[in-house]
Amino acid sequence: MGNQTATNKQLTEQPWLDSTAQPFIVIENVSKHFGDFVAVNNVNLNIYKGELFSILGASGCGKTTLLRMLAGFETPTSGRILIDGIDVTDVPPYWRPVNMMFQSYAIFPHMTVFENVAYGLRKEGVQPAEIEKRVADMLELVQLGGYGKRKPTQLSGGERQRVALARALVKRPKVLLLDEPLAALDKKLREHTQFELMNIQDELGITFVVVTHDQEEAMILSSRIAVMKQGGFIQVGMPKEVYEYPGSRYVADFIGTVNLLEAKIESKDGDQIVAAAPEMANHVRAYTDLQLEVGDSVCIAIRPEKIYISQNEPDNDDDDRVAGVIEDFGYFGNLSLYRVRLESGRIIQVSAQNRRRSVERFLEWDDKVFLSWRVRSAVVLTA
């Protein structure tokens, strides 16, 4: 986290740590009301040049409304939006230095691939010869060289996605907005496209703002993630921060899977706490920066992959541990997921890499097992 002194390299790669850096996009006290419904509630956010920023949230959290306000399709009820130092709050979409890739891709069905990509340049009044060149270069970049004469109906889903990307990028926008860019692609193609998108972003240096409900997509793509809930941000940070140091139960649960245990602090020594968790039979230890008192109720969060599962009782007292019985498990090939029932009846989820190659199962139903984890893996949450 932020307590180590940042080096210069870190500051160029992570400008949000630098208090003197100028943000590229400023969202200032922005709210959007639709009648009585508050879609976006007094949001503040700085996005820096060259970032690949993701806004992550469940459907209906206001993320799409926020993106549409950046594109200019919605006007904020209050607040302002600045892009590259210019107030664009009331600038219509056709004058904004921003382009958008729509969730449906919105490829014009009556135009060829070339005409689709050239459309924005024609509206700008670029010379035909230059249009020809820029469109060809852009199609090359998205690996659609030679596709210019095709009609959209002759394209696969992945190709349509790349046409949409080329069409939005060819105008060299200051900011590219992407609405659920990979949602319409199948899993294999999605993984491939994720990296392609990152490479293109890296090559062009354009600031990307992505809206998605897919936490995996956000984790892989982004420089930073903003988790949105009910029209507001509940946590903004790098993917690792958001995953490893969630600020609330909602974030911990929304991003990845997590075991949440209710507990009460029994003793405190510096930043280490010992808490009684009734579901766990014994005490749970954890480290936290939060200012907490003995007797406070907290929630301890432990990720399934941070837990070791074994049949022999571990003798390492530095780790916390608990005994249980395997209730259920799922085999995923690369890893196995176990649901372990503790004596209290509480189910704990554990995931384990399948390192050994074997068709025989290493653990079976009703096997008695021990779960253990490093004390540093336990996260203390109050919200």
């Binding site: 219509p92 004058w95 958008m100 729509f102 919105a106 009556h110 509206k123 959209p152 109906t153 069409r167």
Partner: protein
């Protein structure tokens, strides 16, 4: 239920087709009847078609009907498209509900009422401004536009509702001004709906008897009006010939509309 078609369903189908098409087929068959009596078969002949072509009254009426139908279809398509756009794309403006209701009212209003009210309008307009001086082409066309426009509006609006609105937003995002978007994106994509709207308006105008009868004046007879007045004096074989030609024209129109709507479905993106 089994997969074999039950004889009951087959007979219902046969009966339905028979009910619909035997009258039409008999009209076509009797149009080639040599006999002067329309209901007695007197051998094959095409003489009534020839007679029809020499009948100035019929030709004048047919020409008037076609002129009215083309003008009606064109104006109804332009106005109906504009209305469809306003209703589908301009959100909730004041009086939207009222406009929606008014647009669809010609679809359910009895023709007699529509005809009568338009006649009263034209008569009082004549009294106030001296226009229309005579009732004929212009009054019939205006009357036809009023109801045909409603059909076009409904067709265009449903096509717009099915169309992905982000296409228009994408054009705007790429730097296109809103009015230009209508011509660049919206109209090319709703063109099939506009064409089938035009064809429907054309057919409706060509068919109309009741409203035309109300708002036409002396000397201006459309084809349906002429047929109706002739039939009142008894069915003659040349009417059969005329009816056969109309059946042929309408069938061609229906096939054209079907082809257009099939293309419309194909051109819709398949995602």
């Amino acid at each position: 239920m089994n997969n074999k078609r039950s004889p009951f369903i087959f007979s219902v189908l046969a009966f339905g087709y028979a009910f619909l098409y035997i009258p039409l087929v008999s009209v076509i068959v009797y149009s080639f009847n040599d006999s002067r009596l329309a209901t007695v078969w007197g051998g094959f002949s095409t003489r009534w078609y020839g007679e029809l072509l020499r009948n100035d009254q019929v030709l004048d009426a047919a020409l008037l009907s076609l002129r009215i139908a083309v003008t009606t279809a064109t104006f109804a398509t332009i106005l109906g498209t504009m209305l469809g756009l306003v209703l589908a794309r301009f959100g909730n403006f004041r009086g939207r509900t009222l406009l929606t209701g008014m647009i669809t009212s010609p679809l359910v209003m009895p023709e007699v009422i529509t005809g009568l009210s338009l006649l009263l309008l034209f008569v009082s307009l004549h009294g106030l401004f001296g226009w229309p001086a005579t009732r004929g082409f212009s009054t019939i066309t205006i009357a036809h536009i009023t109801f045909a426009m409603a059909y076009v509006t409904v067709i265009v609006r449903s096509r717009l509702a099915a169309m992905d609105q982000s296409l228009e937003e994408a054009a705007m995002d790429l730097g296109c001004r809103p009015l230009r978007v209508v011509f660049d994106i919206t109209i090319p994509l709703i063109a099939p709906a506009m064409i089938s709207g035009w064809l429907l308006a054309f057919t409706l105008s060509l068919d109309d008897l009741v409203i035309s009868s109300f708002v036409s004046g002396p000397g201006a007879s459309t084809l349906p009006m002429l047929i109706f007045s002739k039939v009142r004096l008894g069915v003659t074989p040349d009417i059969n010939a005329l009816a056969s030609i109309i059946i042929l024209l309408v069938s061609l129109g229906v096939v054209a509309a079907w082809l257009v709507s099939r293309r419309m479905q194909k051109s819709l993106p398949s995602n």
